[in-house]
């Protein structure tokens, strides 16, 4: 039985944790919230210097050639710090999509630049408040250009390339494909959006016959998109776990420091049980996500259901921990000066990034039905 991360992976986790606690304290997150910055370029540069943007990129393309388990431990620490950087867009989504569905030429062109941090990538699926599906994608591709609107796109305002999910009308059909679109182009218009979490930029991108490079996805492009979302779901679950643990820890520290009615509020069962519930949800999320990580690493046949379970459990854990952290703090937790807000904001950004939990639950049960568990 070896259902745990290796010593090397734990060492990497500590190294990332140390870097972030030294260079990305919560004041840095606040700095991004209170300024016009889209992200913390200094924290991002540090992560690039550590080589982390190339974690799973093969060495031939200038990466570290490590696996998804290393990415999981990095994600957990980024979540704990609520780091204001485009790591999920560039690494979990754009890089993984390129590795899976890029042509050889596309990989040679972009992976070394993603690894070295020379460029930042993102991934564009949603177009409006209507949940995207295989039949309602409007953004269309033909003759090496795309037209249409994508929003909200994480880090869209400063990303260099965008892996974009399109309706491919080339052959007169409406197959789903993915294309690579360089964003520094006069046929691309960007508009930053006001969101609940301004420490993570989200943008509306309008393509008007913008140059686009078709990727090598299969005839069932929608299922390829789902595969990318499944990978990101597991990685994002670790980020959510990190954020949930940070919220629990903040609530615990406050419950020990704060006195009311002549005693520590942490001695009241109403508070203790709330914090115990946070802990329980976090452990359930961790255990599901460990299995997700294992399936990711093995490219296992249970990846789909494991990804959905990781997503459902981790979203529940982080949403609960972030909101009850504020509740534990009482009035002070609702002030601008308090640091509770960063996790509260981030919990929704991470929880909604890959589509609603209702649809992930539906995916999970669809898998159960297909497995014919009975």
């Amino acid at each position: 039985m070896n259902f745990d991360f290796s010593e090397d992976q734990k060492l990497l986790k500590e190294q990332v944790a140390r870097y972030l606690s030294d260079n990305c304290p919560i004041e840095v997150v606040r700095g991004v919230l209170e300024s016009d910055d889209y992200y913390s370029s200094s924290v991002w540069k540090g992560l690039v210097d550590l080589g982390l943007t190339g974690t799973t990129i093969p060495e031939e393309y200038g990466g570290l050639g490590l696996g998804p388990l290393e990415l999981c431990v990095i994600a957990e620490e980024l979540g704990r710090a609520s780091a204001p950087v485009p790591f999920s867009s560039s690494v979990y989504l754009a890089t993984e999509a390129l590795k899976l569905f890029g042509t050889d030429l596309q990989k040679e062109t972009w992976l070394p630049k993603l690894a070295s941090g020379e460029i930042i990538g993102t991934f564009a699926l949603p177009e409006s408040a209507i949940e995207p599906n295989a039949n309602n994608i409007q953004c269309s591709y033909s003759s090496n250009t795309i037209s249409g609107v994508k929003m909200p796109i994480p880090d869209g305002n400063y990303a260099d390339i965008c892996i974009t999910v399109v309706k491919n009308t080339t052959k007169g059909g409406d197959d789903i494909s993915m294309v690579i679109v360089p964003l520094d182009n006069s046929n691309v218009t960007k508009k930053s959006l006001s969101t609940l979490d301004q420490t993570r930029n989200h943008t509306e991108i309008t393509f008007n016959n913008a140059e686009a490079d078709l990727m090598d996805n299969s005839d069932d492009g929608w299922s390829d998109v789902q595969q990318i979302l499944d990978i990101a779901a597991v990685l994002m679950a670790f980020e959510q776990i990190g954020g949930a643990e940070a919220s629990l820890n903040m609530a615990k520290e406050y419950a020990l420091d704060r006195f009311a009615f002549g005693r520590q509020i942490g001695s009241y069962q109403a508070i203790k049980h709330k914090l115990a519930d946070m802990y329980i949800k976090i452990e359930l999320a961790k255990s599901n996500s460990y299995f997700g990580a294992m399936m990711l690493n093995d490219n296992g046949s249970d990846l789909k259901i494991a990804a959905a379970a990781s997503r459902v459990a981790a979203t529940d854990a982080f949403n609960y921990a972030a909101q009850e952290n504020i509740q534990t703090h009482g009035g002070i937790g609702f002030t601008w000066e308090a640091n509770t807000q960063f996790y509260y904001r981030r919990s929704q950004v991470l929880g909604l990034a890959l589509g609603s939990i209702a649809s992930w639950k539906d995916k999970l049960v669809t898998q159960l039905e297909e497995k014919n568990i009975n």
Partner: protein, 407 residues
């Protein structure tokens, strides 16, 4: 990351498999959850226990001097996993070997252990635990059953409750109050005693489910020798903690109807003119319970990984029952709801899926209490895992007989 055995674990597993193949008979009559000696399960269980003890598998982690194998915790888990593939009668000895005898080994004399350990291990003598009382449940240190010194003996009077197997047990361990004039935890003493002693009367408790898995045990002038005291007079709580530590390892919930059964039911019943499985609320609930159930399964894998490395499992192992017992109840209640008005039927011949959900809903109410209530388990997580302070206590320093009480 994998679920595989190490080479050493694998060779132990193969050895156990071979032994079970040669020794475990495919007994069709399972002892099951209701431990009823009437149907002969007890004598078959004794027979099986003796075979296991002879081979060293009855107490794998115990030292060899006590008849154990001197093995590791992971070996013990491997044995249980393999044994579970056979329908062998077990359950009668869990409390004795899991809680009582380990307490004896920690506190009794060498001679006493020479006398009692082996017969317990071989299933010749069965032990029970006499802690809970009508006014001492979660607050088990509040026991009122008293023992008074009489020469070299003690005289016990009072009542214990929720004692599993008291009617077929040979010996028991008991916590009693020997001094009501000092604070609660300081006035307790701990004994072991012969369950056939004069003055002990055992009555089965009838549960809301209709079954009787537990007893009330009444003590009227029961005489126990001072040599049967474990630990010093007034230090019974310290001894009891040894037992309770072991209880936290032993108590869980039985295998119950879970998301697969609910999924099956949802395929079979109709809700708003379509199979219930097509209903979004039903799908959402199934997903929630899947995540809880699989979450616990993989939490166990994480704990086993620690054991496999020879480490103590982390605090995550403490979340099991506080998740699984309410899930048993909620899932059963929801499954009954899907059956509409017929959800109240509990005749296995008529009710859907042989009334497993109705039965489970009844017994789950008990599992949320047994071996630590939901509330006590949350306190344990909050205090021992998260390090939050204890509630302010009014019973720590005042003499026991001055505390406010229910009666």
């Amino acid at each position: 990351m994998d679920f595989n055995d190490t080479p050493e674990e694998n060779s132990f597993r193969l050895e156990v498999r071979e032994w079970l193949k040669n020794n475990a008979n495919q007994d069709k009559k399972s002892a099951g959850y209701v431990l009823d000696e009437e149907d002969g399960a007890l004598s078959r269980a004794r027979e099986w226990q003796a075979k296991k003890a002879e081979a060293g598998y009855a107490a794998i982690t115990w030292p060899e001097e006590y008849g154990g194998l001197g093995g590791t915790s992971i070996q013990s888990v491997i044995y249980s996993q393999e044994e579970a593939k056979y329908n062998v009668p077990t359950g009668f000895f869990d409390i004795g070997l899991g809680m009582c005898i380990p307490t004896m080994m920690a506190w009794a004399t060498k001679e006493q252990n020479e006398r009692f350990v082996e017969p317990a291990l071989y299933g010749k003598e069965i032990w029970c635990q006499l802690f809970s009382e009508p006014s001492a449940g979660s607050d088990v240190a509040g026991v009122r059953t008293k023992a008074e010194k009489d020469g070299d003996d003690w005289i016990i009077n009072g009542q214990k409750v929720w004692t599993s197997g008291a009617h077929y047990c040979d010996f028991g361990i008991i916590v009693v109050r020997t001094d009501p004039n000092v604070p609660k935890h300081k006035g307790l003493s701990f004994f072991f005693l012969d369950m056939k002693s004069p003055g002990i009367e055992i009555k089965p408790i009838r549960q809301i489910s209709g079954g009787s898995n537990f007893n009330e045990v009444f003590f009227t002038d029961v005489r126990v020798s001072d040599s049967q005291r474990l630990g010093e007079v007034g230090e019974g709580w310290k001894v009891a903690l040894t037992t309770l530590m072991n209880e936290r390892l032993a108590i869980g919930v039985p295998k119950s109807a879970d998301y697969p059964s609910l999924t099956q039911l949802a395929k079979d019943v109709i809700l708003n003119n379509k199979p219930a499985i097509k209903n979004d609320l039903v799908r959402s609930k199934i997903a929630d319970w899947y995540v809880q159930s699989e979450g616990l399964k993989y939490t166990k894998m994480r704990s086993l990984t620690s054991l496999s490395k020879g480490e103590t499992p982390g605090p995550e192992s403490s979340i099991g029952k506080v998740v699984s017992a309410p899930k048993m109840q909620d899932l059963a209640s929801f499954a009954m709801d899907l059956q509409g008005a017929a959800g109240i039927l509990n005749d296995p011949d008529i009710a859907l899926m042989h009334s497993i959900f109705q039965n489970q809903w009844m017994s789950a109410a008990g599992y949320r209490i047994a071996g630590g209530t939901d509330e006590i388990l949350r306190n344990i997580v909050a205090e021992r895992v998260l390090g939050l302070p204890q509630d302010i206590r009014v019973d720590k320093t005042a003499p026991f007989n001055e505390l406010a009480s229910s009666r």
